[in-house]
Symmetry: C2
Subunit: 111 residues, 2 copies
DNA sequence: ACACTACATAACGACGTAGGAATATAACAC
DNA sequence: GTGTTATATTCCTACGTCGTTATGTAGTGT
């Protein structure tokens, strides 16, 4: 008999963590921060093509969740990735999506 | 320079996948299906303590997303986990949450 | 045919959260 | 102090999705 995926007591927190990763703009922010170790808000605003308020709000969410760290330096605030599990999660999902795509095309071709 | 977490073209699909995992009730369904390989709707309704319509809708979402598979047998419909990446994702998140909790208590104790 | 069961779906209201505009706050320069 | 810049926050509206209720549909049995 297989074990549980997660303890019942963790379910709400796990759901919350996944929710933080369920917005494309937040994933794009994480993607940027993976490329450039550290970025300030304006740099992210430029990269995201989104309003400063919008970016700031997502940064606040990700930081409260522990996914980003925040470092203030003068007028600027620098963010960086603070969750070593993120990379693995994204890799897992991407690999799975590729598998699905491959499987799907195989089925299509089999017709 | 680190690589991207995911290709830009995948971002929307990755976000969608995470969104499917961002509801406690859906995680509880996945947890049940991990324990009992295959369950029909009524069995899941009983385990979830939720209305049949509610459970059916979440099952439909997870199935359309490719996370569950569906097998009809007479009047009953049996669902099972169909995404081998789910277990790894949940493990990663849970491990991370535990790390955070440990780190947090360390900080607290250090005061 | 009718009745019953298991499940799916539609219509509805409630709530959460996204983005936009405006405003507040903080740090610097003068 | 005033002014300016970088960032955070508040208020608002719009939209998505949750759960509930009611109804539809498919399969079985008589």
């Amino acid at each position: 008999m297989a074990e549980q995926l997660m303890p019942d007591a963790f379910i709400d927190k796990v759901a919350q963590r996944f929710k933080m990763l369920s917005e494309p703009i937040r994933l794009r922010i994480l993607n940027q921060l993976q490329l450039h170790d550290e970025m300030n808000v304006q740099e992210l605003v430029d990269a995201m093509q989104q309003r400063q308020a919008t970016v700031s709000k997502h940064l606040a969410l990700l930081t409260r969740e522990g996914i980003l760290s925040r470092r203030k330096e003068g007028l600027h605030v620098y963010y960086r990735l603070n969750d070593p599990s993120i990379a693995g999660m994204c890799m897992l999902v991407c690999a799975r999506l590729k598998d699905e795509a491959r499987e799907h095309s195989r089925v299509i071709l089999a017709d």
